[in-house]
Symmetry: D2
Subunit: 307 residues, 4 copies
């Protein structure tokens, strides 16, 4: 299959769309991003990479980081993790407190904000403190992306903290149900730090390879998690990876993926490749508008879908 | 792969489990079923069939029928269907009115009760009346299972009607939002008629083949729906096929499937086969307890999973 | 106090308001009422009556009838009534199913629709059948208003039935929780019959006297209920009489009262009088807009308030 | 009326009840209170006071303080206060986040926790900082109770802070909707300080007099608020003063009152007196069990009720 041609076609087709969506504006650092940008990359198991558009531009990976923290937590806690977090679609917006209250502080899954905050808390407990936890998270992302330069934007992290009242509410609610171990403020700060990591589509498409290859990096052979764990992370991405548009994404794209409010979507094609698309304009559900369309076009053009 | 051996192993392993779950008891006709029963079948594209246990025993397919009515509605209405029904996981129990009220009478997906009732209404409108709609639904199920004898249990249908107040509430609520066309009582009666269809695991594993094969029956070549429609039905089964345990099923089994309160679960292995397992004891979420375990064992033993 | 002067002032003041609210339009029979109408009456314990405006015009009493059915149910069932209905404000709209589902089919209070439907069911059980129950309800209202001509509008009752899907949903939901004894359709028909009763402000202000006078009609001495029961009905009117604007009504008017979607509001001034105001235009909460303002003016001008 | 005799009778009758309820145990300082204690006082407009039982024992007034902060906020903001807080019964538990999220951070009324936290925020804004706000709140309570010694328990306030995650969640949620002006931590600390005020039933029964007398202290003539404001505070106490048992309290007692988790209930008899009862054992709704029964006995014995 001529992947470069397919990516070029997709880039052309989405460039013709007049509605680019609406950039996230809850913090200034994200609001100032140019909504016209679009980049897409895919990385095969032998390391070959195809890209189009703004594939070298760093963007804030935001919730895509939740895939990586979930991976680490599953690795270290195994099924014990599910004493504190579920794995069901929430049916509610990503930052809703309603369900969390009804369900006694147990978040539905690791990809809604409450669940990801809970995962961060579990990692802080595992590593002993938040500094060490942050370092290990960053190191893991550098490992899987094979990119030592990966780092977070201090401006974005600080700005999130200044506007993070909703996440503070979620964390305090879980704490009131005894479902967080560490200091609320410390957890949220650590959480925002990994959300503020900056990568480009090349790096992220490469970083997804271990999930496409049963937990093992197909390029350097590093074993990150078990085959079963990799499959289960993919399952949770499929059912919960796009907030309350997860069903829609499964329906239209048919591949496990995780979106972030920075406009990125990282996708796994099992046994084949990692994909990342980025365009900062969001649709009504908070997922990249052009990104979602690009992935649907990709699925249609290549017939790649898990179904 | 030695499928017969695998099925035999699975049957043996689940037979050792002391907890068989709890038979649905909301109507006498279901409450009197022997909970010790277990049957499992799989049908390959060439028609070869492997079975174990009570695979010739007819059982009430109940919500599995929703896959077939959804198929017909998607075939006749195409994407217009989504003006009246969503395709997102609900995050709520299958018969909840809460979400339906908040979302103005638009059911979340075609597999929760409200959604399936809505699909039945759409088919009545399409076929002109409920008698014709019932006939066409039955005929379609006979076609895909290649079994002319398929019929419904009048006792079960009548008994459901006598206890169907919750479904009457759902239907009246949708009607109050102008999201049902036909007479409420007539819709519910038609709905219960197809829920009361009786099949065995052999028939149902064969009936799922068109979904494993891009909408085309791999044995007789009949084209039922388009490739895209088949993929999308599979996607909705994966995200919504097991009520509020759909995430769990995707997580543990990793295959698109639909369960029914009669204890059946019908599953699709894309490009490979149809599977059906039946055991009437249910777990807390209303899905067959042994059936779910059997399918997880099958996924583990064969490595078959879409992820 | 010169009550006639006060009523005249109020009528003049509300006539100057340009916004008369919006007439209920869910059934044609109510939608065609002229929104400019306004009438107000008060009846003292000695039978003296003061009126202004359209006080002879019959209107649909709708939910005001719930006060009278609640009275009968409390009289016949005493505190046993509270096994099936609560007496707490609902905090939700009058016809919401959400709370009813969360609280297992027990309606919050007798003045939300579910509660009033439940009360009607209790009266049907008490009187043996719906025809007898209807007769007794009508007779009671004729007794307390001292008006043998009181009757219901068959057009309104039939029209309600044709649009009563929400109420059918509420009733079926309660039935599914075994919290209704009789046939759902029969209950709803009986319920709509008493909602469709037609009275004018003179009749209704007189009909409230027994609640202002400890359960005893101050004019003819008929004992309807005990002092304690009368006080408790007043308490429920104060906390629940105006749907989710009950707090607002208590805040601004400070008197027990019950509103109806036909534009009437019936009010009790304990130990002093009965009041009724009518103007068919409704505010956002479904209570008479001019009626609410008129009663607030009355409370301000007379200093009458229970607080 | 022989009030002393009535109080003695009540004390005797409640002393015979074996179930004293369950002391609040979410903080050690409250959990260690002896549940057998019971005190009750009433203060007439001329200053005459009648008491029984442990009427000199100081207890934590907790949510009763919300009446006094609401009074100050209404005095300084008048109806502008209702831009940030409603006055409707919530129908939900006192510390629920569900409704607050659905209603965009506007608390239902000033007596649920979110509402009282919001009132505290308004007072901090009015007085310029939290220290000054605390001082003014304390001074007001000293004025109305005519008791210069009134102060808060630092142990209770600190202990609340250590367990105040739910309130931190509520405050952060309101902050995320821009419905709090000041620093969340500072607001909660101020809030807990006035909740931790300690008084006895004598002081509190005297402190309620201004609400029974149209906003004016009947003993020393101090004008605190307008007649209309006093009536409206009484109305909000009646509809919202006892969390989700407010309807029940109105039903059984029929007087405006406010309860606290420390076991106190302060009540207004309009134009007549202030009452306070205290017994630390709580019922299922979090209101003093013996206190509620004592007030119902008082209402029955004296016929005092606003209805």
């Amino acid at each position: 299959m001529n992947y470069q041609l397919i990516l070029d076609e997709i880039a052309h087709e989405v460039s013709c769309l007049s509605n680019k969506g609406k950039v996230a504006d809850y913090i200034p650092a994200l609001a100032n991003v140019d909504p016209e940008q679009f980049g897409m990359s895919l990385t095969l198991f032998d390391g070959t990479q195809y890209s189009v558009g703004d594939s070298n531009t760093l963007f804030s990976i935001q919730s895509i980081s939740k895939v990586f923290t979930f991976t680490l937590a599953l690795k270290f806690y195994s099924t014990n993790l599910y004493k504190r977090i579920g794995r069901e679609p929430s049916g509610d917006p990503f930052n809703s407190l309603v369900q969390l209250e009804y369900e006694h502080g147990i978040p539905r899954n690791p990809f809604i904000n409450a669940g990801a905050i809970n995962v961060t808390d579990a990692l802080i407990s595992y590593f002993g403190n938040s500094t060490k936890a942050s370092e290990e998270i960053f190191q893991f992302i550098r490992d899987i992306s094979d990119e030592t330069s990966v780092n977070c934007s201090k401006i974005v992290a600080t700005s999130e903290m200044d506007h993070g009242f909703r996440n503070m509410a979620l964390a305090n609610l879980m704490k009131s149900f005894n479902n967080l171990d560490n200091d609320v403020y410390d957890i949220i700060q650590t959480y925002f730090r990994h959300c503020a990591i900056e990568m480009n589509t090349k790096m992220l498409s490469r970083a997804m390879l271990y999930l496409a290859n049963h937990g093992v990096d197909p390029i350097n052979g590093m074993v990150h998690i078990t085959e079963q764990q990799a499959k289960r992370i993919n399952a949770v991405m499929l059912t919960c990876g796009h907030y309350d548009a997860s069903g829609d994404f499964a329906f239209h794209v048919g591949l496990p993926g995780k979106s972030g409010v920075g406009g990125g979507i990282a996708v796994v094609v099992p046994q084949k490749m990692g994909i990342c698309v980025w365009s900062p304009g969001l649709n009504a559900q908070g997922n990249s508008l052009l990104g979602t369309i690009a992935l649907e076009l990709f699925a249609t053009k290549t017939g790649m879908s898990i179904f």
